[in-house]
Point group: C2
Chain length 219, copies 2
DNA sequence: ATGCTAGCGGAGCGCTCCGCTCCGGTCCAG
DNA sequence: CTGGACCGGAGCGGAGCGCTCCGCTAGCAT
């Protein structure tokens, strides 16, 4: 989402230890970018290249591709949770809290992880995080509903899925893609605001959301 | 989008000629389904299997994967164009025409083709169809704008991109996915309706939309 | 200065999986 | 009954992936 940090190589200053640490951060950033652009099928070599790092260094930090992706997911979920709590604490009314939450989670890349659903087994930590996330989103929704600014029938699963559809890869520059995502987020949020008509079809339940990550038995 | 027609094999009745024709239709349906679900990377063998047809028959109709996909794109574009003209002709007011157009193009699978942008060179026919499509959408928008029901700043490119983001693969049954698509289409349309706030960021121009299909020089 | 070695980049191994071909069998037409 | 059009699907060639391994470099201790 932010600048790639594509240094030609990581030789800025500081000794080997420092380089290692710098690599660690750069790798995570690069991985997020590349996975967002190319999906779970992104080759590890592309991530290494983008980070300006060799395959050796990449695999020293993360023993496998799966481990890297899992780490990325966890980080994104933590980010989303924090965005929710921040919005809840700092915004004066329910609607602006919801707006801010959606905007910030989008920029921090939440919802992009839904593309990986089913690609690897979920960890316990991820389950815990998702539960806390669900609670926070529910609080956001409750507050907006209490002040009457939310369309009836909107559920937390809607927020998740909306974040996910906004992750569509528009085939432009990353900057323009972000602009467009914000544009359609604005449209969606206005559509989520209170007014007469009910929404067609029942909203996605939380179990429905969770099931996509591959329950016990799945294809 | 509709039933798979997954006959165990294609031996219903009628001689070899009839079987060939049946295969042809079945293959196209299967291909549409599979490409929508799996994207351009869908293996040809899966399409053959879904159609209940051998690889041989598949490749007798379409000399290559690219040819199949191109045919599919053309068909989808024709469908979209027809949906627009139908909506324009049959609906009493601009807004219901726009709504109907979006709903029908979604169900007929338009916008799913944007996922293939850049994967193969566009034909002249496709260019012509896209121009006619753009005109029809513009007419739809003009009519809605004239009656004052359209939010200012909405452009035809928005319609294309909205159709495209709604093609997100929700990881459920095809039926439920269609329900959800309709749900978020409703949200989006309500957000596109007239009211005060302008939309952030300029809408996608038509050139911007076209460029994604890989102009002359592109990566 | 000068080894020693931790950490680096990247070539390449092994494997999976895909597009496409080809051929033995099937079944309709005459 | 026989010819041949058309069928299904096994298998070929090759692309591209995850991951390992190794020669080299550059910082540290002496």
């Amino acid at each position: 989402m932010s600048a790639p940090e594509t240094l030609p190589a990581a030789h800025a200053q500081g000794g080997r230890k420092a380089e290692a640490e710098r690599n660690d951060r750069t790798v995570l950033n690069a991985a997020r970018e590349v996975f967002f652009e190319l999906g779970y099928d992104a080759p590890m070599s592309v991530i290494a290249e983008r980070a300006g790092v060799g395959m050796g260094s990449l695999y020293r930090r993360y023993r496998s591709k799966e481990e890297l992706v899992r780490r990325l997911c966890t980080v994104a979920m933590e980010g989303t949770l924090q965005a929710a709590e921040r919005a809840l604490a700092a915004e004066p009314d329910g609607w602006s809290a919801l707006t801010r939450f959606m905007r910030e989670s989008l920029t921090c890349g939440a919802g992009a992880m839904g593309r990986f659903a089913g690609a690897f087994p979920v960890t316990e930590e991820m389950v815990r995080l998702s539960e806390r996330g669900a609670d926070a989103m529910q609080a956001l929704l409750d507050r907006a509903a209490a002040e009457g600014s939310l369309r009836p029938g909107v559920v937390t699963g809607d927020l998740v899925l909306i974040l996910e559809i906004l992750r569509t890869r528009f085939k432009t520059t990353p900057e323009r893609a972000d602009e467009l995502r914000l544009r359609y987020l604005a449209v969606l949020l206005d559509g989520l605001r209170h007014h007469g008509d009910p929404l067609p079809a029942p909203g996605p339940t939380w179990t429905e959301i969770g099931e996509r990550w591959g329950p016990p038995g799945d294809a």
